[in-house]
Symmetry: C2
Subunit: 188 residues, 2 copies
DNA sequence: TTGATAGGGCAGCCTTGTTGACTTTCCAAG
DNA sequence: CTTGGAAAGTCAACAAGGCTGCCCTATCAA
């Protein structure tokens, strides 16, 4: 069950980083850091009467424009109703546009409007600024370790999602598993 | 404002880890990892009709038995009213005991009961198991980097708190800033 | 034509956060 | 011994954002 262990010079001598106390420190670090991590966007969101849920939606729509409601649901891990409430306000406020799917007209493809993109940049720049400072402070090696531990902490399915999303941004490709493009001889 | 930068062989050549894309990856890693991080305790809590707020309270009371409501408030970063609601149910359910402060009888010092300690162990063991697996998987060097980045991400005051809490557990010392113990000739 | 799927709407519930106003307890200083 | 103020707690009201359950429409695929 445990994945292959590949630790340089560690034949049982140096397992001190696995003590309960070290783990507790890591747990508390996660708690405090996550609070800081969300603090800056939260300030901006509050003044606009949005919440974290809006931020998350906007983030992932920006990262993968044209994704469907169902995909977004899967990424966020919430219920349709929960997401819908958020999405409705974003669409009403003209931050997000919902277009009928090309491939399947039942689907809705989500895009940021220019207004939405502006908010997204404002939010993500605030968040990135903190992350950038932390990265710079800790250095590239630490950053690699940081990412490694976070990935190892994810559920396998989430990790797969996370890794798959890695290289999307360039040209918004069709999902790999797409049907061979039927000649949709649709009426209407 | 930026702390002294000490990065080995980096004279502007290798700043690629600071690109917006790398930062975005880090941001998403935080989001997904935090969700996993809370998932295991959440399952246990749900079956007992508690929430994350209860977990956090129990965690910090366990880590620093006898701390006052005000200190706990400061650590958790929520309002008195919010914490109170949670604390009340924990006390009613006899997981937490609230004793009148020795130093200042207005204060309430918080302790886990045996029942509370059992729940705490159950929750934290679930959380530690995941953390342990991630740590083991990533190795000690990565863990060091992980902690470094998380610390760098915290607000300075939070970081100070976090670091101060480091070595408490052993002998539950009086707060360093305590008054020189007046002979409290109290009636009653 | 029909069953399954994508999306959305509505109702209602819960937890956990918030403010604001108020009381009680009780220490410490005048 | 009185009193100001800190610590703790209470009540009321509200909001965000989770959840479930149920129902409806549009659309696709067989």
């Amino acid at each position: 069950m445990q994945q292959k262990i590949r630790m340089p010079g560690m034949i049982g001598e140096d397992l001190l980083f696995l003590t309960d106390d070290q783990l507790r420190r890591g747990i508390e670090a996660m708690f405090f850091a996550y609070r800081a991590f969300t603090a800056d966007p939260d300030l901006i969101l509050a003044e606009l009467d949005y919440g974290r849920a809006h931020h998350r939606a906007v983030h992932f729509i920006n990262r993968d424009p044209g994704l469907t409601v169902t995909s977004l649901l899967a990424v966020l891990g919430v219920t349709k109703q929960s997401l819908n409430r958020v999405l409705r306000t974003l669409i009403e406020d003209e931050l997000v546009e919902s277009r009928v799917g090309r491939r399947d007209r039942r689907e809705r493809q989500l895009y940021l409007t220019e207004k939405g993109a502006i908010l997204e940049r404002r939010l993500s720049e605030a968040q990135r600024a903190r992350m950038r400072a932390a990265y710079r402070n800790a250095g590239p090696q630490a950053v690699a370790g940081f990412r490694q531990v976070l990935e190892a902490m994810m559920d396998p399915e989430t990790r797969a999602q996370y890794q798959a999303l890695k290289d999307l941004p360039e040209d918004r490709k069709e999902p790999a598993n797409e049907q061979p493009r039927r000649t949709y001889s649709d009426r209407r």
